[in-house]
């Protein structure tokens, strides 16, 4: 992977400067059933197409943002900031733990 991803602050940068945290998830409200919880924690849509996902410009400004990316072409259609309003509206949940930046591939 060597595509450019536009950081909302730093502009387009090679993807290996970022940490990728996967598609957005939707955190259930209080007292979910085990089924609802496991759906949120373990299940992903894994679409072949445009998905909204979490990125962090780990080696750059360090900020978090959302990107709408086509998983087939790596074309990034939009980047958005995670405002609390957006988070509330979309009930965004946690990213997977321990995702590492791709910086190990930076040369």
């Amino acid at each position: 992977m060597s595509f450019y991803l536009p950081c909302p602050y730093c502009g387009p940068r090679p993807v290996d400067e970022y940490a990728y945290f996967g598609e957005v998830t939707h955190r259930p409200g209080p007292s979910p059933s085990m089924r609802e919880l496991t759906d949120y924690v373990y299940f992903r849509d894994n679409v072949a197409g445009v998905q909204r996902e979490w990125w962090q410009h780990r080696l750059g400004c360090g900020e978090w943002f959302l990107a709408d990316r086509d998983t087939r072409t790596n074309e990034v259609l939009d980047v958005l900031l995670p405002s609390p309003e957006r988070v509330r509206e979309e009930r965004l949940g946690s990213p997977p733990v321990g995702a590492e930046p791709m910086a190990s591939e930076v040369t």
Binding site: M1, S2, P14, P30, L37, W54, R58, V87, V97, T107
Partner: protein, 861 residues
């Protein structure tokens, strides 16, 4: 033997260069390639073929075919036909047992025919299975491409350099040059990459020329790595213009690989560039203008042209080269034998589309031209010149001519038309499958010379149109490249504490701990370091701990929601243990949280967890939007843990501040100035003795360390620390827990405060509380004097039922102790179970509570 000097020749006859071929001294002129110099010296056989060990000679003279692969100065698989000659070069032939002209393995060609079809050794030599390693060793020796000098790897230096270009043109032919000049007229930032070293830079004003250099591929974001020998340029180009031209294709007829068969352009290069006579008596089989031009060139060079056949006007039914000792001695044309030692033939020209196809472009067979052409380019990539098919005339030779003798579709891998036909009869009817079975297009030329002939042959054999066959996937690299160049410099980001060199000077054995280097122990006797901590005083470098400041009016609210336990009710100057869980309820990291003031918390994490925890905090805060900042100060601060019964007494001598038991109680956090350095001092007890963690500016690391050691503190490493914490039953997250461990199963059910509105993982903990955990983490004591390795099996009634995560010998406890996951119904204090150690079952008993000082009196003292 050279032709008389002529204008335009590349050689400089006034400068003679000498070099070696095997045991022989040879010479050539400046401007020669190694190949042309060898040819001038009378050499005609350049290599032995991959499988049959047939002699092979110069065929393309353009660096495409495998026929002239040799080892030059220890580098295998150099195409000597394009490798510039240099004084003193040491050239060795490859894939030869014996000599180039008399290869002991040529017998394979004679008897091997019927025994060496494709897939032969997969089917035949696989039984008996135990023999395969022996067969493989032999096959690796007799087949293959050169040998790597295992000790030569470090003699050459390879570098990587990042470059940007507005327009990057690949290929310096007429179309490429024109495209470069046009782009340059619009502004700077134009780069042209060409394989040859004869590009006239003066003609290209305003263009940066890289030659000889090879573009290896076009990746996403128009990343184009360019191989310049010992430097790899990683180009990022706004526009890439591909002008790679065409590649002459072999005509497929019996004996088409014999020494003395050549492509038309090879003939021209030998004559015009190097003033060489390619042969004495020539036959030319032309499919396009280039063939006819070669005939003219040969005439001018004084070669007797015995016959010229223009296959477009007078097609032949039969073409069959006849051989003497692997060399052309004549050719059968229909019923006519013409004697010759040079047979010039080609199957037309094929656009060199690979870079475009790799980049994601479309390639289709063009029935009007009879070749594969690129039809659609990816964004930001263009093609100009003959690579687009422009200027090509229709070429339509017979896909293959029948007759006696081997008829090669692929000279790299020695695949004949018979092999391809056999593959089709065996059911490999898709060209992608056949590629994997026959290995056509998988050799050194990577399809440059065999893609088109195999498509043509497939169409003929399957009686379909070429357009229905498709082509195999093109993959980078487009040109052969040394692995060392792709590897570049060995850079491994390594984190070192500010005490790293002090540890080394003290004789520490260093080990990796995640991205950090840490002392394992300072001698071969870690137990002595353990004893020092128990009996007097030890000091360990814990600068690797993750350290975060969380500051803001809502810092408390943020931490309350991140952690299962409570932090809002803490008084400033106090410390509490904290475990982070995910929304799935799994343990993620642990550490201490100190409240420095109402709005300011100081959080420590595990050594490997600092980056992940910082990102985790920042992410949740981005989601929740609390007024709090998270600042990672891991590197800003060195941290030392001073531990042992003498710790207070030693600290008192090093500071004027009050560190008495009353002023600095267990789990207190204070700023204390120690030896002139302001230290955030945390009184905690990971190793179970009275202890102080000093956090202070990392540039003062050595100064503080040296003074503590001078005060009698014995340095201890990771290994003694692991023994000490195990004696206390303290868990190491990631060592004793894994991604399935939760607070309840790890024995920390006291920790989560379920009356909080929300925290990360609350729902999971609530749900877990309703069921019984399958397994629990418990301490154990061995019944025998054996240390089970980490991961050893817990066995109950003969069945595996759990695993050991840590085990050490503890002199203090006088036993071998450890932590293990056991079934929850076997977790009662005193329950006996067995652990498999090197095939033997050894008894152990569950032990609740700490093994050492269970009341914690020593660390609270």
């Amino acid at each position: 033997m050279r032709l008389p000097a002529q204008t335009g020749e590349r050689i400089d006859r006034s400068t003679e260069l000498s070099f070696r071929l095997g045991p022989w001294d040879v010479s050539g002129y400046a401007g020669d390639t190694i190949g042309s110099a060898l040819f001038a010296g009378g050499r005609r056989v350049f290599s032995r073929s991959f499988k049959y060990h047939r002699p092979r000679g110069l065929l393309c003279c353009a660096g495409h075919c495998p026929n002239c692969l040799m080892t030059v100065d220890g580098v295998p698989n150099v195409r000597v036909c394009v490798e510039p000659l240099r004084e003193g070069a040491v050239v060795e032939p490859q894939n030869v047992l014996g000599k180039l002209d008399f290869d002991l393995l040529r017998v394979v060609d004679k008897v091997g025919g019927p025994f060496t079809p494709v897939g032969f050794y997969y089917r035949t030599m696989i039984r008996p299975r135990r023999m395969w390693p022996l067969y493989e060793k032999f096959l690796r020796n007799v087949a293959g491409l050169g040998k790597l000098d295992e000790h030569a790897g470090h003699t050459r230096r390879y570098d990587v350099e990042h470059k940007k270009a507005r327009v990057l043109v690949v290929g310096g032919g007429r179309a490429g040059r024109a495209a470069a000049l046009e782009a340059a007229s619009q502004g700077p930032g134009v780069v042209l990459v060409d394989e040859s070293d004869r590009l006239l830079r003066s003609e290209l004003a305003g263009v940066e020329v890289l030659a000889p250099a090879r573009a290896l591929g076009i990746w996403e974001g128009n990343l184009v790595p360019v191989d310049c020998g010992t430097v790899l340029y990683r180009f990022r180009a706004e526009r890439v213009v591909v002008a790679t031209g065409t590649i002459e294709q072999p005509l497929v007829f019996p004996g088409n690989d014999l020494v003395g068969t050549m492509f038309p352009r090879a003939v021209r290069r030998l004559i015009r560039d190097f003033s060489l006579q390619p042969g004495q008596r020539a036959v030319v089989l032309a499919t396009d203008e280039r063939g006819l031009e070669a005939a003219d060139d040969l005439g001018e060079a004084g070669v007797a042209v015995e016959r010229v056949v223009d296959l477009r006007e007078s097609p032949l039914r039969r073409i069959e080269a006849q051989a003497r000792a692997g060399r052309v001695r004549g050719v059968l044309l229909d019923d006519d034998v013409v004697e010759c030692d040079l047979l010039v033939a080609s199957g037309g020209r094929q656009p060199a589309y690979s870079l475009l196809a790799q980049a994601g472009g479309l390639v289709e067979f063009d029935p009007d031209l009879g070749v594969l052409v690129p039809t659609e380019h990816p964004p930001g990539v263009e093609a100009v010149g003959s690579v687009t098919g422009e200027g090509l005339e229709k070429v339509d030779p017979l896909p293959s001519y029948h007759g006696r003798g081997k008829c090669f579709v692929c000279v790299c891998e020695d695949v004949t038309t018979k092999d391809v036909k056999r593959a089709i009869t065996e059911g490999f009817d898709s060209i992608e499958l056949a590629k994997r079975y026959t290995t056509v297009t998988m050799g050194p030329c990577q399809g440059k010379l065999c893609q088109l002939p195999s498509v043509r042959l497939y169409a003929q054999e399957r009686r379909v149109y070429e357009t229905d066959i498709g082509s195999t996937t093109a993959r980078p690299p487009w040109a052969p490249v040394e692995l060392g160049l792709l590897a570049g410099r060995h850079l491994e980001p390594t984190r070192r504490t500010s005490l790293h060199f002090r540890h080394e000077e003290t004789g520490a054995r260093m080990m990796w701990a995640g991205p950090w280097r840490r002392p394992y122990a300072y001698s071969d006797y870690p137990e002595q370091e353990v004893r020092a901590v128990h009996e007097s005083l030890g000091v360990i470098d814990v600068s690797t701990l993750g350290k975060l400041l969380v500051e803001g009016p809502e810092a408390a609210a943020l931490l309350e929601r991140l952690y299962p336990n409570r932090f809002g009710d803490m008084k400033p100057g106090r410390i509490r243990y904290g475990v982070l869980t995910t929304d799935g309820g799994r343990i993620m990291d642990d550490g201490t949280v100190a409240r420095l003031s109402d709005d300011l918390y100081y959080v420590t994490t595990t050594s490997t967890g600092s980056d992940a925890v910082t990102a985790w905090f920042e992410w949740w805060n981005a989601v929740w939007g609390y007024d709090a900042d998270i600042v990672n100060v891991t590197g800003a601060l060195a941290a030392l843990n001073l531990a042992g019964p003498r710790a207070r007494e030693a600290l008192e001598r090093l500071t004027e501040d009050d560190v008495s038991a009353e002023a600095l109680k267990y789990l207190d956090a204070r700023e204390v100035e120690v030896v002139g350095v302001p230290c955030l001092t945390l009184r905690i007890g990971f190793v179970g003795e009275l202890g102080y963690e000093l956090h202070f500016p990392s540039p003062a690391g050595e100064h503080v360390w040296d003074r503590l050691v001078a005060e009698g503190a014995v340095p201890f490493g990771l290994e003694p620390q692991r023994v000490l914490r195990l004696e206390k039953g303290h868990v190491i997250v990631g060592q004793d827990t894994d991604s399935e461990s939760n607070l309840l199963s790890a024995g920390m059910s006291w920790l989560p405060k379920l009356d909080k509105d929300d925290f990360v993982g609350k729902s999971a903990v609530e749900l877990f509380a309703e069921r019984e955990e399958r397994e629990l983490l418990v301490g154990f004591r061995m019944e025998e004097n054996v240390v089970p390795p980490e991961g050893a099996q817990v066995v109950i009634e003969g069945y595996p039922a759990g695993r050991v995560t840590s085990a050490r010998r503890s002199d203090e406890v006088g036993a071998i102790i450890g932590l293990a996951w056991v079934p929850s119904d076997r977790a009662e204090d005193g329950t006996r179970f067995e652990i498999r150690v090197e095939r033997q079952l050894r008894g152990a008993r569950v032990t609740h509570g700490a093994f050492f000082d269970p009341a914690g009196e020593r660390m609270r003292s």
